[in-house]
């Protein structure tokens, strides 16, 4: 099967076949990262710009490493060191970038839809590395890969996503991705953190943590941001941890082979207790490892041409 997408903007534009192809490709990429010399020449001579308007450590590093393992030249640009601070518009910045002939642009931006706007304006393939509260497709893909790796398939699994769903692009992308691959997704959090109409993405909703966890095969905890207290979303970290934090006790309602995911960075002791984060069910570090493979796969599928990965 050939990959038909020009950009990776969000999970909603990927079909189940697209997702499967990306995951399969990522699995073949994984081996490269385990070699003593972790580099193949596949994307030699290709230029990949990593355009990060929002702070990021893990995601940016992951894209950067993925580019290097495929021999592409990855150039990272952050808003604070770019002309954005001089008041240049996103479109002007992007057009200037394009004039330097990059082969692919990875963009993270605080405004939902910013990658979509770029995709309409410029001809270079774009990967959305997170746009506002909208989408984070490479994160969802690596999450699905991490689960598929352990479970063989995600079809029929019960997935609970718990936390601030309203502000989470990870939640939105995972709801769509897991649902498309045949899993049943439930989101859980206080009603202040559940956005109107989230059911239209294919998830069910509960405000009760035990209901969400009961018989879950996969639990994904989301980072709680302290500044949301100022917007009256929750009264205190203490109460949040007590009611919506994942602890060993609460985990007893889940299936014995439950997998725990977290997109990071962790707030230990708030949404997840340290013993759970470091416990036997946690695949949080698998996610990080798979992140590199997924991003290598996306690069390869978008600009790798017909060249074989192994050569």
């Amino acid at each position: 099967m050939e990959f038909q997408q020009k950009n990776i903007l969000d999970m909603a534009s990927l079909s189940a076949d697209d997702i499967k192809l990306i995951l399969d490709t990522a699995e073949t990429m994984k081996e490269i990262s385990e070699r003593p010399i972790k580099k193949v020449p596949t994307l030699r001579g290709k230029t990949i710009v990593l355009f990060f308007y929002e702070p990021s450590t893990r995601t940016r590093l992951s894209f950067d490493i993925a580019a290097k393992r495929l021999s592409a030249d990855g150039i990272a640009l952050s808003a604070s060191t770019s002309s954005m601070v001089k008041g240049e518009t996103l479109i002007d910045t992007a057009r200037n970038l394009v004039a330097m002939k990059p082969d692919l642009i990875v963009i993270r931006h605080s405004a939902a839809g910013a990658p979509h706007m770029l995709a309409r304006m410029i001809d270079v393939p774009i990967i959305n590395a997170g746009d506002g509260m909208h989408a984070h497709p490479s994160q969802a893909l690596l999450d699905i890969l991490s689960v598929r790796e352990r479970k063989g398939s995600v079809k029929g699994l019960k997935v609970a996503i718990i936390g601030d769903i309203s502000h989470s692009r990870v939640a939105r992308s995972n709801i769509i991705g897991f649902t498309r691959m045949g899993a049943r997704v439930t989101v859980c959090g206080p009603p202040t953190m559940i956005p109107k109409g989230i059911e239209t993405l294919g998830t069910s909703v509960t405000y009760d943590m035990d209901t969400a966890i009961k018989n879950a095969d996969v639990i994904m905890m989301l980072r709680i941001q302290k500044e949301r207290q100022a917007a009256y979303l929750f009264p205190s970290e203490r109460e949040y941890a007590a009611i919506y934090g994942l602890t060993k006790e609460k985990l007893t309602h889940a299936r014995p082979d439950v997998l725990i995911l977290h997109p990071g960075p962790l707030n230990r002791g708030v949404e997840i207790s340290p013993d759970v984060a470091d416990g036997p069910h946690s695949i949080i570090l698998d996610q990080v490892t798979n992140g590199v493979s997924i991003r290598m796969a996306l690069f390869y599928l978008l600009i790798g041409g017909a060249r074989n990965v192994g050569d």
Binding site: A12, H109, A135, R169, G197
Partner: protein, 436 residues
């Protein structure tokens, strides 16, 4: 002399049917049934120096009034000027427009009101009746000088765009305006509920990852202002109603006999928040496009008389404000050159008669603002001629407005203003109807 012959005149509360209208020196001098061979002035064909407009097959309306526009001058002339805005108005069939005071400097004093009126006179097309600020600088702290503003020509007061947050100031504004017999136009919005919202709260916003603006952001303020209207007995006009809850609150207030009127804009009875997908900044406005249930409630509100007025909220913005990330984009769309065909659709959809439409676009705004519109002897000759069967495609590039921010570009429409007459002068003639 100018004679409009054989047109079907629709002037509810005055005349309805085929009439010839005789105009001289800016005034209507006679209105006689078409086909009467003679009148006191003689037959049109025999009077020398007469321009005769054959309006057969056309509708003749008293000049349309848009009581809610932004002309951007002074201060934002790169988006629109009074001249270009007025030119857009008459091309859309409007003979009178009411610009909101959020200019720079703000229209909160006599000098700015004078300036706007002078510029409009120089432009020489549409009539301009300025709306002045409720509060100085639109800051919601102190009242503007309503007496002086009225003397300068202001017809109403509004802090449009900056809702009056303090109930006490709103109360005093209503009371004080009442003393001058002028209405308060309220942009109803509770900013703390809008918060960082970019579009209507609901499934579409959630799918796009945009923060939502709940219906209650509008309706809680509508309800507050209705309560203040009841308290003060002042004339309250509610701007750009977008939600079902607001419609119900206004309907209830009217049942109780309160002096409240309301307007909506063509986009609220035509579009829904689905139009925002995918991040279409040309569908970003405040209040935002709402759900299909809200749109239906607005349409019913227009039909049952709860909503008195159709106004455009014509809000020109350049590409600087619109070709940016959705959350950074400015609110608002232009409407002067699309409002009439979109409104005629309400008649085609059998939601209202042509007479009722003219009430919403002429008679009711005139009543609220104290303007004269009857097509009868001695009155100012402001008229709009409409070809109800003319089919065309909206082409924003051809707009007279300086801006192009419309979501209706490329829409196929039926019905168009073909001639606009202000003060007895032909200020717009789309199809060269003039034959001497």
């Amino acid at each position: 002399m100018l004679v409009i012959k054989n047109g079907q005149v629709v002037d509810p509360g005055n005349i309805n049917g085929d009439f010839d209208i005789f105009i001289e020196e800016g005034k209507i001098i006679a209105v006689i049934p078409s086909g009467s061979s003679e009148n006191s002035k003689g037959t049109p064909d025999t009077i020398p120096d007469t321009i005769i407009i054959d309006a057969s097959g056309k509708l003749v309306f008293p000049g349309l009034i848009d009581m809610h526009v932004h002309l951007r001058e002074p201060g934002h002339e790169y988006k629109e000027t009074i001249a270009t805005g007025c030119s857009a108005a008459v091309s859309g069939g409007f003979t009178s427009v009411c610009p909101m005071p959020n200019t720079n400097p703000v229209n909160d004093n006599q000098e700015i009101t004078d300036y706007i009126i002078r510029k409009a006179r120089e432009a020489g097309t549409a009539r301009v009746y300025p709306v002045a600020a409720i509060s100085k600088g639109l800051e919601g702290k102190a009242l503007s000088e309503y007496g002086e503003l009225k003397a300068a020509g202001a017809v109403a007061f509004s802090d449009d765009g900056n809702p009056v947050a303090t109930a006490q100031l709103m109360r005093r504004a209503m009371e004080y305006a009442k003393g001058f017999g002028l209405p308060i136009i309220s942009h109803c919005e509770e900013k703390s509920l809008t918060a960082d919202g970019d579009m209507n709260e609901g499934a579409v916003a959630t799918q796009m990852g945009l923060a939502g603006i709940p219906n209650a952001s509008e309706s809680v303020m509508v309800m507050r202002d209705i309560a203040l209207c009841e308290l003060t007995g002042a004339a309250l006009h509610i701007a750009h109603v977008s939600t079902a809850q607001s419609v119900h609150a206004i309907q209830d207030a009217k049942k109780r006999g309160l002096t409240v009127t309301a307007e909506t804009a063509p986009h609220y009875f035509t579009l829904t928040d689905e139009m925002v997908f995918p991040y279409n900044t040309l569908s970003k406005m405040n209040p935002p496009l709402r759900s299909s249930q809200d749109r239906e409630a607005i349409r019913q509100g227009l039909s049952n008389g709860t909503i008195d007025v159709i106004a455009t909220d014509h809000a020109p913005h350049s590409s600087l404000e619109k070709d940016v990330e959705f959350s950074k984009a400015a609110n608002g769309i232009i409407g002067l050159e699309t409002a009439l065909p979109l409104s005629l659709k309400l008649v085609a959809d059998k939601l209202m008669t042509m007479e009722t439409l003219i009430e919403k676009m002429v008679k009711n705004p005139a009543r609220i603002l104290g303007l004269t519109t009857d097509l009868s002897e001695g009155n100012p000759a402001d008229l709009t001629l409409v070809d109800p069967d003319y089919e065309y495609t909206i082409d924003a590039e051809k707009f007279k407005s300086k801006s192009r921010n419309t979501p209706f570009n490329g829409w196929k429409m039926k019905g168009k203003a073909v001639m606009t007459i202000v003060d007895g002068r032909i200020v717009y003639d789309a199809h060269q109807l003039v034959s001497e």
